[in-house]
Symmetry: C2
Subunit: 455 residues, 2 copies
Amino acid sequence: MRTILIIGAGKSTSSLMRFLLGKSQNENFKLIIADKNAEVVQRMAKQHSPASALVLDIFNTEEREQAIQSVDLVISMLPARFHIEIAKDCVKYNKNMVTASYVSKEMEALSEEVKQKGLTFMNEIGVDPGIDHMSAMQVIDRIRSKGGKMLLFESFTGGLVAPESDDNLWNYKFTWNPRNVVVAGQGGAAEFIQEGQYKYIPYQRLFRRTEFLQIPKYGRFEGLANRNSLAYRSIYGLEDIPTLYRGTLRRVGFSKAWNVFVQLGMTDDTYTLQDTEQMSYRSFVNSFLPYSPTDSVELKLRLSLKIDQDDLIWDKLVELDLFNSKKKIGIKEATPAQALQKILEDKWTLKPEDKDMIVMYHKFGFELDGEKKQIDSTMVSLGEDQTYTAMAKTVGLPVGIAALKILNGEIKKPGVLRPIHPEVYNPILKALEGFDIRFEETEKEYKGYNPDQLS
Amino acid sequence: MRTILIIGAGKSTSSLMRFLLGKSQNENFKLIIADKNAEVVQRMAKQHSPASALVLDIFNTEEREQAIQSVDLVISMLPARFHIEIAKDCVKYNKNMVTASYVSKEMEALSEEVKQKGLTFMNEIGVDPGIDHMSAMQVIDRIRSKGGKMLLFESFTGGLVAPESDDNLWNYKFTWNPRNVVVAGQGGAAEFIQEGQYKYIPYQRLFRRTEFLQIPKYGRFEGLANRNSLAYRSIYGLEDIPTLYRGTLRRVGFSKAWNVFVQLGMTDDTYTLQDTEQMSYRSFVNSFLPYSPTDSVELKLRLSLKIDQDDLIWDKLVELDLFNSKKKIGIKEATPAQALQKILEDKWTLKPEDKDMIVMYHKFGFELDGEKKQIDSTMVSLGEDQTYTAMAKTVGLPVGIAALKILNGEIKKPGVLRPIHPEVYNPILKALEGFDIRFEETEKEYKGYNPDQLS
């Protein structure tokens, strides 16, 4: 009887457990779920019988090594910074490993040893990174295998609220870590390349430099640039591609309104405000506006950012209760970003019956047999409920599928890997289709950015 | 015969040398100027005969200690980060020391030892910090000695071009380190307090939150917030003051145009652009604008920042040759800030005959005998030429005066000091008047920020 150990009983783990348990009898393996929180792990194991629970403090070396050496494969669902200790034990005890996180420098450094030992450490096998890698590489490799030359790759992913649960003016709710949403885009300019020209967008312009995308049945979205597009040139083998652009999806109009927070300074997470425990939402807003005791906070904000009275941005701000003088931030020594997060969580937290949605959009421009063409490939995945969210499914399923295929020796490529190789992405994408995670492709003429060619 | 050692032959050193040499015969001391650059230090000594030149590498401990132990007082005109090594030697060999830089944590840490040895380490005795401390504390102490209660302290300083040399649309030229001008305001929100309310301005709004100030004979200026106003509460003993605001002065209209650079991301110094050696000024601008090959850089910029065709901002940008496709940045791996600095230096470098100007404006609001009053205190100092600039004079003279008074035992307060004590600022401000560095005061009714009280 083989054993898979899952470390970390977080949000994405439910879908992963459900998938693996569904396979455990036929495929003849046991499942152990480990977490430092006894209550959480026992509840999780109970919900997913017959998985067994293990209370595990990963900073206790003895406990950790004992847990790892007795199993056949380890899935780390911990926050990314904790993977490395697990990874070192997996090297030591010759265990395969799976994570949904970006390959860190420390993980990369294990690469040679992992390869020599014939182990597979599969990383970046969630949704983004994960499904984006696999679905993009499948199309890119298909184009190249026919002799095509890649001209353009644009890729956008968004974690959003499903249309049936979309009931606020922002068309947005938190479907993953709210803090990451509030500080998204900070820490450096977005850099990408379009038809050979490098472009840079600083944080203060990021939310004003969107582009629109249309998905049949789901309508329009807006894409805003991620910071790290150019890193994908080497990962995908697209060193000479003239256009490479990666981004995040929101519903149209989100970014223009979010820019109000950016401009006022409300998303800053680098310093603490004074007296935030007793600070009202209204005072929070006022602290970023000029001092002028005879003018209202509303008027000062409108004037500062030149928001007309009939601009929909205004209704979005009012909907958040931003000018409420009774509601308190209620956090000691909060940064602006923490205070803003508190305000947003009042309104943007998923209700028990709410469903989320993952949307992915790739554009591939290429030249084949003297003709320029473009393939647009889209994927929409809807959540079932608050436990089996689209986020949990699109992260947990590829992790689970990869783990099982590694356990069964169907994937045996050794090394510290991303799922960018056909022997990895083909079977996993195929299996994901069984869970209705599938891409729709349309092929059309490649028009690039030259509006003279636009129909 | 006593000896003063000046380490660092930078821009501000000329005025300092001229002042000290003028006193050396009567006051019976010798002057040594030391720098690691032999050519610079020998030229400087020749210009300021009979000062003697010393080629000194401050990282050579033996050389440094030898230089310091043989003199009576050390003036460090080095960049601020280098003072600490000098300071430690001064402690070791019981020498007094003077710098124009902010007291660093390392310098502060020497405080007890310096005090115990009865030494005086005078810091922050240039213009800003320096003359600002002295002129402000003189008025604040005067108000408090009469039993007045401080209600407001606002203080602004600017290094600008003198009216007679003011020949560009920005009304600005570089009168000190251009790099510091380009990156000014970065690294955190400006924080201050107005009538008891804390206010925060993020970098992306800094240049749109100015206030106007008028100086007789010199016209209007605009003030923009410095980052660190609140630190002055403890330094000046103004812990409970309801309004405290420090800022930088520019001519009206500068900030609105500078904001174009901020918004585009041109002042970012945290990452390097691609291919900057061959990049034209026009390409530099274009790299921050959307890719759209059928639209001009000009049109894209106007649209992005909504600049009307008759807006004076536009003429300011054109004056800088920002859209020139022939001129090259010509720097390898330049950051946006370095590239922008190159463009600005073409136009904003002082010509040999140009004169600079230092402007300082303090507002003191206070309540005395049941009446609310305000004192406005202004100082304008004009440069003589490119060597004896207003900047060099207003930094070098207080340094020199302080050094001489310490040498003569007229200032003997021990410790790591700022010039905020009457026994320090009174004689120095008096001496500065002899060089036409003087403040004009006007007293009026205190109106605070309540427009209902405005006449």
